[in-house]
Chain length 426, copies 2
């Protein structure tokens, strides 16, 4: 029966089997230590050097033997290897130093060798944490009676205009890859589902290559009916994040420690300040000593530093964005401002959301302001023409959230196979 | 405080508020009955006709009043409406009969009017059930220590050849929409994650338009290391399905009843026969009275009928597929056959899977048989060159599973916004 590497100390004195990858080999003369890596962690194997099978780094083996206590071994035990079965040999010209500290490697090198660099336990752990994020938020949403949906990513026309869309050859016509499920999540709440969420890929054909952007990312989208303003959405998102942080703190402490990271105290999420765009500009102007006219990346960092000092959490909800800076479907708050918000977390925008226009006449009146026509929106206006409740929603970028939880420098590190202008492989 | 329609009988005698859509209006002379629909179900409102506000079908309203018992009302109670707030008016030229039995409508009519037809509670319930399926399988996989991953759908080259791929204009080059995460799930298990799953969209540029096919579908993909043969995968899939059927049976009995459907007894999943291709052909030949040379859709139906009679469940695992009918990466069992399987459920293939070749030399030797070269496979061979454990996996089509659980005629009914050769909207 196979035992996982992290569990061998529970089997001292017993004959067991381990399976995994050869992570490190140290020839000590009469004996040789082999560190075996599996999904749970590492275990040390002890071989008599003269009777040892031919092994190399990254060989996949099954190995049987007796577990003995050894306080100098990782986990306090090691396996005296008796029978070794080589399941797969590995070319020894490894193009990536799998068993070394990845901070020695550039991001280019890590991504160019992605199939091997993901074998590094620290780099791999990013996606173990991301898996927990996906599982936690999905669980939370189902428990809150949200309906999980999977909507089409192939759209006949762009709701938010044609810029930034990738084109797909679809039989004898052109379609686009969806930038967000905005249209569909509004359609679904209007069907009477009232509360929907989706975790799927979204696409942005933006040419800039920054540490904040991916051309393909995973978007956690939420939409809910019968709200009054963006403040209902902010409150809901606080619930999502508090639950997530609580679960990660309890369940993923090892990965957090590996990265020297921690999640905010769940209780502190309720203290995240909600400030209008104008208030943020004032605070950031004062903090930076020069007037700030826009919520720039620098302003996002400064307001989080300020919130950390004032409220003990490096995050800020910014609401009351100007109409001109938000999409046409955003519900106005005044003639100039909207019921919209962003969440800035540890200096980076991880959420955009807001109440949407649900009144058909209000929507029609808003369109000319944005240079749009009802006909140009395809089926979208039908959502509102036949009765649609007050509603709104938001989206969280899963890679950005992962990045900011672990303190990664570049969002690409948080995508297993990131896509940018130049990178489409592996 | 808002009460959901399905809960009003718990509030008899109390003043409450409901919110939802006007589903039906019946003017009885002095009084008028209005059926209100919300995400939980329906509730009856009673108005004095002469003091009733102007309402129409699909208006969205908030309504307050006193709950009174009435055994002729749905749920045994109704609301004597006092204050009504119209939240959204609806055009009364409804292009789809939302409050009628959808079996009166053609599939074309349902899909052409998707934004409205999803308001029909029976049609909407398909996606409430699908949401439960998504939540249940995700929960199960996380509990089984599988890592949930989200891999790129934009691929530089097609692992399984260039046919059946949609082309995307990606900046100054062409890429393809992934047909499956096959490449990535094998890469991820080889990193040491060992057990991965993904629930994401997959794309097939196939021209045929049948009740079994979608050009964009949701694929639940599983891959696991350290297996011996496809029998390990079959056993694992039985665990997934038994858990799913148990949860749906307990949690979604209302939707199942609405469709006159039921899930198989979870205990019966362990009895699903595992038959080789050759055995299935023999059984189907005998059952149909004519020789059967291929596992055609008719054969899939007949073998399920046979299994229903023999084992009490309309399902069959078919293994030992010929090498020529499976992809190049399928692990051989003999010179002629492979360690592969399909699951046929209620007459339809809902799963394809198998053990994969994990040995680099075996892979290289297999390629010429399929007219492939190592160079033509891009980064794929790197997964095996540097040590890869024995592994395999399978995929379940979420729409097909939904279809077969509810007994829907066409798989398009189980996609909220299906894509076929002609349909890219809404």
């Amino acid at each position: 029966m196979r035992v996982l590497a992290s569990d061998i100390a529970e089997h001292i004195g017993a004959e067991i089997s381990l399976s995994g990858w050869v992570h490190r080999i140290r020839d000590m003369g009469k004996i040789t230590f082999v560190v075996l890596r599996d999904r749970s962690g590492m275990a040390q194997l002890v071989y008599q050097t003269d009777s040892m099978p031919q092994l190399g780094l990254e060989y996949v083996i099954g190995v049987s033997g007796r577990v003995v206590a050894n306080e100098r071994s990782p986990g306090g035990a090691e396996l005296e290897a008796s029978v070794t079965d080589v399941l797969s040999v590995a070319d020894q010209e490894l193009p990536f130093p799998i068993n070394r500290d990845p901070s020695e490697c550039s991001l280019e090198m890590i991504l160019d060798n992605r199939i091997l660099s993901l074998r590094n336990p620290k780099l791999r752990s990013i996606f173990e944490l991301q898996s927990s994020i996906l599982g936690c938020v999905s669980n939370y949403m189902h428990a809150q009676e949200f309906c999980e949906m999977k909507t089409s990513k192939l759209i006949g026309s762009g709701t938010e205009g044609g810029t930034g869309l990738f084109t797909v050859d679809y039989f004898d016509r052109k379609v686009f890859l969806a930038q967000s499920p905005q249209f569909y999540k509004q359609a679904m709440i209007s069907t009477g589902l009232e509360r929907v969420f989706e975790i799927s890929h979204a696409y942005r054909a933006e040419k800039h290559d920054t540490p904040r952007h991916l051309n393909e990312y995973v978007s956690f989208d939420v939409e809910m009916a019968f709200i009054e303003s963006e403040l209902d959405l902010i409150k809901f998102e606080q619930g999502v994040l508090a639950d997530l942080f609580e679960r990660l703190s309890a369940g993923e402490s090892e990965i957090l420690a590996l990265w020297g990271a921690s999640v905010p105290d769940p209780e502190s999420v309720g203290r995240i300040p909600v400030l209008s765009c104008d208030e943020v500009k004032k605070i950031v102007s004062a903090a930076s000593g020069h007037p700030v006219y826009d919520i720039t990346p620098e302003a996002e960092r400064l307001i989080c530093d300020w919130a950390e000092g004032q409220y003990g959490i490096s995050a800020c909800f910014i609401n009351d964005w100007p109409r001109r800076s938000r999409p046409f479907y955003t519900h106005p708050k005044s003639n100039r401002t909207t019921m919209s918000f962003d969440l800035i977390f540890r200096g980076l925008e991880i959420t955009t959301g807001g109440r949407r226009i649900n009144d058909y006449r209000m929507l029609k009146e808003a369109l000319p302001r944005f240079g749009l026509t009802e006909a140009g929106l395809g089926e979208y206006p039908k959502i509102f023409k036949y009765g649609c409740p007050p509603h709104g929603g938001f989206a969280i970028g899963i890679e950005r959230l992962t990045q900011k939880i672990l303190g990664l420098t570049n969002v690409k590190e948080a995508s297993p196979f990131p896509r940018d202008r130049k990178r489409v492989s592996p």
